[in-house]
Amino acid sequence: MMRVGSGWRPLAAGVAFIALGGCASQVVEFHRLPPDTPAADNAADIAKMQRLAAAAALAQKARAPDPTEGAAAAEVPAPVTPAEAPPMKTYDPWGEVNRFTYRFNARFDEALFLPVANSYRRLPSPMRTGVHNFFGNIAEIDSFINYTLQGRLGRMVRSVGRFVINSTIGIGGLFDPATKMRLPNAPTGFGTTLAKWGMHPGPYLVIPFYGPSTLREGIGLAADYGTLYVIDPAWIYRGNLSWGLFVVHAVDERASIDFRYYASGSPFEYETIQFLYVRKLLIEDGGLHRQKPLPRTDPNVPAGE
């Protein structure tokens, strides 16, 4: 997910307004897209299938505890019963504003963000990977702080290890040798920290320029950005180039997300995404408290409240 700061909004809103206001009427509009790469995609699918098969085979064996999660991980998690599933209705008291924001995001994305991201996708892959790795490495600082706050020391050490390795051997984070050294990327943030501390997701919230979230995750995003702004690693957040780097970061994140607003063609897209997003969050929350039974759900209380 991209991190977008408040200063970006007026500028982007202005550009989006201009872009939206300039749509000409004609029978056909052409949009050149990045080419499909079917052979490489299929090779990646084959590799993924092999990886999943290997993971499935490992799961067949006796499950070894994750050493980074401490001794507690060896305990058998309490099973979730169907009755504990949250209601199908989602807690969305700000629905009207959220729907407006969703439409705004869709229009902004179609008029500006996606075309820029598509142009960016035409750059050579190693260059894009380097940019992605660089920003991912900076985010390790936030992950390290939040794993500490969550009391997950094993993961905190992993995050520090990744940052040190990728900043040095990986030449300032442009490469990701840590993953090859079996230290895979596992970012976290303050939203997850709040969840670990027991905070519910809260009302569903669509954040301008960003997308689906909840109140808790929105607070988390602001805190994550604030943390990095205060630390200002490599003068990225407060230096002379901060705006340029910020835009590059946002475009890089957008280019890595395979989603297009209203590609579903469905007027129920808002409801579908809201439903899926909140269930994903609730399942992840349950994973943060693996050894505890889930709190009993009240069928009259919408999911997320």
Binding site: V28, L52, V80
Partner: protein, 441 residues
Amino acid sequence: MNKFLSALALAALGFCQAHAGDASIPPPAAQGPATGLADSAALRATVFGTPPQDIAPLPDKVPLLEMDLDLPWRRPIPAVFWFDKRLRVWLSAQEKPAPLAIVISGTGSDGNTAKLATLRAVLYGAGYHVLTMPSPTFPGFIVSASSTGVAGDLTQDGKDLYAAMGVIIAHLPRKVKITDIDVLGYSLGGANAAIVKSIDEKEHKLNIHRVVMINPPVSLFSTVGRLDKLFARSIGNGDAGIERFYQQLYSELANLYRASDRVELDEDFLLGAAASVLKTDAQFSAAIALTFRIALTNVFFAGDLYSGAGVVVDPKHPPRVGDSLDEISRRLRTKTFAEYFTRIFAPYYLKRRPGSSVESLVAENRLDVIGDQLRGNADYYAQTNSDDLILDKAELDWLRQTLGARIVVYDHGGHLGNLGDRQQVADMLEMLAGRWQGGSR
């Protein structure tokens, strides 16, 4: 927004195209060829699709141009469909003159699905310009290109598709030189493709040469009847059945996630989870039935809105942009294909086709409305599987008798479960090139 959303949706729908299940669950042995009904292997093939290692050779790069078209005959756009104003299609053009292959998507799908991407790649690799189009049951098509708004009528949808193709071809980039036009389609798109060619035989506007139907239905109403039954048996009708299915799926995913050491519920997790969650025939059936039922939701809603039937939408107070659709969506999730036919489709078409009856509407939505053309014209071809769940034995026999040597029936693959594999692609290209010698596989 993130990849997990699409992956979560796909996992929930059973559309696990990364073939997680192939990796970890060996499909049970099939009952043998020509069962005419879906067995365990057919259900699994339908859900997981062709394993990537079995996909035909693919080119490295395929250029992609999106075309958004304004079609003059579309009906006034309901406020809640504001984003579907233009018909969106995708073109992959060769640098030199080449035949154009137009490919039509399956039920409820747009013109850029994973299945279409595979067909686009193999056709482009074989030297065709490729144009991929949504199904006439895709909401984007219903709003931007349908002259009725009530989708699902083979003839009417065929006319709308044919008219749209005419506009698209007239507005292709000038450098695209076409030497011939062929039309293909999978699932419902297969039947649409054949109808389009039959219209062209009368109107001669496009001069469509060959048609290949991939896993087409024969009777739309017997197919949707079968899908309704599949849904009722595997999930159950009414809110209670759907809620039970959701709770079961949620708890299984939550347990798998809690048992894993993952930080994020990501695409890989979901693909792996699909192999664990989907085990029994009933679960695979549920995934398939749910996929079709979700496609119906949009068709039902649009049809109700356009026809003014008032089943889920008050025609006097249609929803406005920004209105909550929660309640409408809750009501729609229990609607069946049968209800779409009896409450929206039939009343609409009975009113507009004097002398018609419910029986005649059912009969008009069978491929045998163009039986003579299929029988007598050597440019119609088909590919299907003996265990395709949208056909019964009588329908499969009808296809065989009607097309003779111009149909290939594979022993296994379920519904589209072998689309893109080496044999299917090789045969499809032979058919398109007019080199098909016939024969069962």
